[in-house]
Symmetry: C2
Subunit: 127 residues, 2 copies
């Protein structure tokens, strides 16, 4: 699968991942909070995403119900990979340094990262 959602599409995907199956109106109402947008604009975008198979929809009732057709995990993974290639010439750790360096990270997040690092350490020793 060769997928690259645009920025607008990603906004919609984020909403659907968070809220689960939703109508255009549902999505539009969330979208409206953070940006100016007409209803038909949101509709059109979701129709295009449906054409591209980014979304599937249930047309049983008049208000179609849309669902994301690609997983959040996988999509984020692809986007991160592409981003690392584009911006950091393929060096994941460079990205990590940037991300940690410039952002405030709280105790819990830090612990999660430390834990992951510990696991990676372990795996490295086993080689």
């Amino acid at each position: 699968m060769e997928l690259k959602p645009t920025d607008s599409e990603l906004e919609i995907l984020n909403i659907l991942w968070e809220k689960g199956p939703s109508t255009v109106r549902d999505v539009h109402e969330v979208l409206e909070r953070s940006k100016e947008a007409g209803y038909t604009t949101t509709l059109k975008l979701m129709q295009i995403m449906h054409d591209k198979k980014l979304l599937i929809r249930d047309e049983t009732s008049r208000s179609h119900i849309y669902t994301a057709n690609i997983s959040q995990q996988k999509t984020q993974g692809q986007l991160v990979k592409k981003f690392i290639d584009n911006v950091f010439n393929g060096s994941a750790s460079q990205l990590v340094l940037q991300a940690l360096g410039n952002h405030k990270t709280n105790r819990q997040e830090l612990d999660e990262i430390k834990q992951l690092l510990a696991e990676m350490e372990k795996k490295m020793k086993h080689r």
Copy 2:
């Protein structure tokens, strides 16, 4: 400065950051290795970037010499911030988990990250 280079522009910036001041032909030759592109296309892009002040150029000799006018550090920082907002709803650690989880990271990179984490730990205790 509110700058957001496009993907094509970023490719060119990467080359200039790596190679330093270069002519259009220099850049184009590097670009050609990884993608199909006409010379005038590269030229036009660099001219546009010059208009946008992303590049500066020395017009002394016939072949103008272009130099990146924004720092790699700063640009990467801005791009990372935007990326984290778009894709991970602002959570830097989520990005880090993705990046570390899906990519092979070597010992040295891992050590750098550990070191940075240790410093962050320290700072947190001092609050």
